[in-house]
Symmetry: C5
Subunit: 273 residues, 5 copies
C-alpha cells in the first residue's frame, strides 16, 4: 500500500533561533552614563563573539521598527546545543536583563524536496513498486545527495547574512488542517504542484528579496518560519501579497505575528532606544 | 495561463506607524511638579519636532477616549528608516518611559487599483493576451502613472492631517480565507466589483469622514489599517455600520481592536491624564 | 436597485463608557489610615460631581461580585468629549492610581428602528420606489421624529439609573458573520422579525429587568453592549437563558465577558475591598 | 404557536463563587516568621468564619495540584449579596494581598428539569394546548414543587461538602451554537434525551464522584460550572472521558480550564506553599 | 443497545507534572555570589531528593533551548498527593521564587487499549451480547491483566528516564470535535484502526525516540501530553512531521505549545542562565 499523503523528503541544515525583545527603558535610564556605556561595551563584545562562531553559523541583531518588540536577535548554528550555548552566553550579559523576551522561535533550515519525492513516488507507482522500497530508497539517496551538494540547496541550508539586503521581515506560519482546507490531506502530487507555483512567485523577487525557510514541526507550535531579507522593505509587502493569492497560501496558510526591522552593527544594536 | 486570482496593482506612499500607550499614573504622580513640568516641556518639544519633519510626512497625538489605551501617536513618513528615527526620538524622552505600549501597527498608505487592474485583465483576455505581457505592462505603466499623479490618489498616498476633523478612529482589518468566505479565491473582477460598492459607501460620507487606508501585508499580522477622521464621532458608527452590511465586509472582513479619540495640540497631549 | 441587506435606521442618545477595575490591595494597605481616608473622601467628591453633571447624563459606581474586576464605573454623557472629561476627572484622583483597568467599553445608546425600516422598505417596493428615494426619506423623517419624541424611545436613549433595581449585569456582544450564520446577510425583513421575537422575550421581564442597549460599531471590537438592571440577580440568568434560545441569539450572537454586581453609594464604593 | 426550542425549567439554590489564586512566594518570604504566622492565624480565623456561615452555605479551601493556580476557594451562599460579603471579608485579610487572582467563576446551583419540561410540553401538544397556558402552568407548578422538595434535588441545590471525597476538579463549560452543532437549535425533546443519557454516565459513578452543577448564563461568559468531588482523582479522568463520548459532549460541549486539587483544613490552607 | 462510540479501555500508571519556568535574571543578579551559590546548592539538594523518591517515580530537570521558558521540571509519581508534595518541596526553595511559572500540565501515564476494546466489542456483537455484559467483563479483566503485566505496557505506565536520550520535546494535544472532524463521533473500530496506523509511525523511530503518552482528560484543558526523548533533536522534527500526515493527526489532532530542551544534571540545572 503506497501511502498517498506521505510527507516530502526534506533536507535540514543549521538550527535557527529568533529572539524578540522589548527594552525596559525606565530601568535603562536608571543607570548612570559610565555604567550604561560599560554594559553596552560588554554586550557588544558578546554580540561580536556570537557573530561568526568557530563551529559555523552566525548571529545578527535586527533593530525592529514599528513592531511589538524593539530588538530581534537571529542565530544560526550547526547544532541545537550550540544554539543553547549562544542563548546562555547572552543571558550572562547584565544588559540582557533589561530586554524582556516577547517572542522566540526555534526551527531548523529546511529544503523541502517536493518535486523529487513526487517524481520518485510516481516512478515507483509506474514500475509497480512502493514508496520506500529498495529501488525507491536507492534512487532517493542518489537524488538527495545530489541535491544536498548543489549550490542553491547549500544556500538554503546554510544561508549567509546578505549584507546588501539590510531590511528583515520574520513571521511564523502553518498549513491548515480544516475541513475543506486540509494541506495534510492533499496528495503529494497536489502539494508538489502548489509548492512549485508558490516557489515561482518567490523567484520573481530574486535579487530583491532573499527568503530563508526554516522548519519548526516538532519544535514549535507553528510549522515554519519565514525570514525575508530585502533591499527595500516595500518588496516585503509586494512579495507577501503576491503569495497570499497563491492557492498554497490563499487556501492553506495560517500566519502568525510579523516582525520588521533592519540589521545593524553590534555597536549600534547595544545602544538600546 | 492567465492567473485569475492575481492581486490588484497598488500604489504606495508614506509609511505609517500607529503607537498606542497607557499611562503609568502612579509613576507619574511620584514626580514633583517642577520635574513633571520639565519632562512635559521636553516631550512637547519632541512632538513639535516630529509634527512636520523636513523629509515629509507628519506625526500627531490623539487623546483616546474610553479605549484600551490613553494616547495614540500617529506617524507618517516617506521611508521606513524615517519612521524608525521618529520612534527612537520619542524613546529618548524620559516621560515616554511612563507610557507602556499596548498596541502598535506598521503599514504604508495604499491605493488599490482594482478597477484598472480588472479592466486591463479584461482587455488582455479580449485581445488574446495575458496579464503581464508587453501590451499589458505598457498600458499598466501609463494608467499607473496617470493615477499616481491624480489629486485624489495623491491625497490617499500622502494624506494631510485634516484640522477640521478632530475625531479619530483607528482599527486594523483583514480579509477572510475561510471555506465559503475566501476573498483571495475570488476573481479580480469579483473583488473589483465588491470594492467599488464598498467605496460607494465611503463616498456618501465625503466631507464628514476622511478615510486613510494603509496596507500591512508583509508588515503586520493584520492586512490593512483604517484611520478615520471625522467632525462628529457618531459618523464613525454610521459609516462602519453601513460598511458592515456591504458584501465585502459582511462576508469577507475580520476586524481587530478599535481605538477612538481626538487630536490634541502637543502641549495638551503631554499633560497625561 | 434596492439593497436588500441595508442596515436598520437607528436613533442614538447618550455616549456610554463602562470602566472595569481591579484594586491593588497591597498598595492600598500601604497607606496609613488618615491618608487612605483622605483619598477616599477625595474620590467620593469626584464621584458625587460625576453622578449628575450639569450637561446631562450620569455616572454610577457598581461593586462587582465574583467577577474578573472589583469595581465598574458606568458613565452616560451627551457627547464623547464629556465622556473624556469624566475619564480625566477620575484619572486625577490619587486613589484611582490603585485601580488597574481590566476592561473598558465605549458605546452610545441606540434604538434600532428595525420595524419602521422594514415597513418603509416594503412600502417603497410596493409603490415601485427605492429605499432612500424622496418619498421614503420624507416618510422616514416623519416616523423617526415621532419615534424619537416617544416616551419609550426617550427612555432607551436617555436611560435613568433605576434606583429600585440595584443589581447590574453588563456584557458586550456581536452578531456573527459566519457561513450559514451571517446576520449581515439576512434581509432586513428577516432581521426585523428576529428582533421582534427577541424583544418579546425582554418584555416578559418588564418591571423586573431594565435593559439598556448601546451600540458600539465603529467604537469597539464588539458591536453592542447590554447593561441590565434588576431587582433580583436571578432574573439575569432567566432572561439571558430565555434569549439564548431565541433564533437571533441561538444562531447569530457572540457574547463577551460578563460583569455582575450591585450599585452602591459613592461613599461605599470608595471603600475599596 | 408552541416554541420548539424553549429552555427547560430550572430550579436554583445557592449562589456559588470559585476563586483561584497563585501565591506571590517572594513577597511571602519577605515576612519574618512571627509576622507570617500571625497573618496565617488571621486568615485561618477568617476561613473558619466563612466555613459555615449563619445564613447558610459554606466555604472551603482547595489546595490545587499541578494547576495554573495554587489555591481555590469555593463559596456557596443563599444570596449574591452574601457571596459579595464573603469576598470582601477575605479581601480584608493582609495575607490575601499575596494571592493574585488567576480565575474566578460566578454561578448558581441549578437543577435542569429537562424531563419534566419535555413531558409537559408533550402533554400540552396532545391536548391541543400550548407551553405556558393555564393547564401547563398549573401542572408545572405542582411538578416543580414536588421536585424542589425531593431529597435528590435538595442535594443538587444545597450540596454539602462531602468530607469523604477530598479530591476536587472544577471546570467551566458551554454548549455550542455552531452550524451543525447547535445545542440551542435542538428541540426540547432532543435535549431532554441527550441529557438523560448524559445523566446515566454520571450515575455510574455514584458513590465515587459527586457532581455539583452550577448555572452561569447571565453571570459569566461560560454557561455552566462543574465541580466534582471524588475519593480517587483517577475517577475524574474516567468520568470526564466517558462523558466526552456522550453525544451531548462529543457534539455540543466546549470546555474551559481544569483545576484539580484536594480540600484541606483551614490551618493547612493558610500555610501557603 | 451497544454504544458505538464508547471510549477504549485504558490503563493508568504514574501521575505526571510538567512545570515550565522562566528565570527572573535581574533578581538573580541582585544576589551576591556566596548567597547565590548557597541557594543553588539548596535547590540542588532538593532536586536530588526528588530525583528518585522512595515511593517511586522520578523527577528530572530539562534545560529548555529556544523555548518560551528556560527550565522544565518533569515529575512522575505513583499518586496525585505525591505530586503535590514534590511541588511543595520545590516551592520551599528560595531560588524557586525567581522562577516564574509559564506553563504547567497535569496528567497520568496512559496505555489506550484500543485494539483489545475493539476486539472484545466485536466478539460481543458476534455472540449477540453487549459491551459490558458478564462475558465481556470477564474477558476484559483477563486481557487487561495480561496487558498490564506485559513489559511494554509496564514501560508505558512507568517510563524510565532514558539516560542515552538526553533531548526532550513536550507538547499537549487534543482530538477535535468539529463537524466533519469529530474523533469522538467515530466508531471504536475506526479509532482503533487510526491509532494502529499512528502507532506504526512511532515504531519506525524505535531506538531513536522514546514516547511517553500521558492522559489529561478531567485534569487539564488539553486531553493528552506527549513527552519525547531522543538521541538527536532532528528526529523530533521527522517523527512529528510523519505523524502530522497520519489521518489521526491530519484530521483530528490539535496541538498546543512545544517545549524543547535537554536533560541536565541537577548541579547544572540550578545554575540558571
Amino acid at each position: 500500500m503506497t501511502p498517498i499523503a506521505h510527507p516530502p523528503e526534506t533536507l535540514e541544515g543549521w538550527y535557527a533561533l529568533h529572539q524578540i525583545f522589548t527594552v525596559d527603558r525606565r530601568a535603562l535610564r536608571a543607570f548612570d552614563a559610565p555604567t550604561r556605556e560599560r554594559l553596552e561595551q560588554h554586550l557588544c563584545v558578546a554580540l561580536a563573539e556570537l557573530a561568526s562562531p568557530a563551529e559555523g553559523g552566525w548571529s545578527a541583531p535586527v533593530r525592529l521598527i514599528g513592531s511589538k518588540g524593539d530588538l530581534m536577535l537571529v542565530h544560526f548554528r550547526p547544532t541545537l546545543d550550540a544554539l543553547g550555548e549562544a542563548q546562555r552566553r547572552l543571558a550572562r550579559e547584565p544588559l540582557m536583563d533589561l530586554l524582556a523576551p516577547v517572542y522566540s522561535f526555534l526551527s531548523v533550515t529546511e529544503a523541502g524536496l517536493y518535486h523529487i519525492t513526487a517524481q520518485l513516488a510516481k516512478d515507483a507507482e509506474q514500475r509497480g513498486g512502493t514508496v520506500g522500497d529498495a529501488t525507491y530508497a536507492e534512487a532517493l539517496a542518489q537524488r538527495v545527495h545530489a541535491e544536498r551538494s548543489s549550490a542553491h540547496v547549500q544556500r538554503r541550508l546554510y544561508p549567509p547574512l546578505p549584507g546588501e539586503m539590510p531590511y528583515v521581515c520574520f513571521y511564523p506560519m502553518s498549513k491548515r488542517r480544516r475541513v475543506g482546507q486540509n494541506w495534510y490531506a492533499l496528495t503529494l502530487a497536489e502539494r508538489s504542484q502548489l509548492m512549485y507555483t508558490h516557489g515561482m512567485v518567490g523567484r520573481r523577487y530574486a535579487g530583491k528579496v532573499m527568503q530563508v525557510i526554516t522548519g519548526a514541526i516538532g519544535l514549535d507550535a507553528w510549522e515554519w518560519g519565514v525570514t525575508l531579507f530585502g533591499k527595500d522593505p516595500l518588496e516585503f509587502k509586494k512579495l507577501v501579497t503576491d503569495m497570499r493569492f497563491d492557492e498554497a497560501s490563499a487556501q492553506y496558510a495560517e500566519f502568525g505575528e510579523f516582525f520588521v526591522g533592519k540589521t545593524v552593527p553590534a555597536e549600534e544594536a547595544v545602544r538600546l532606544p
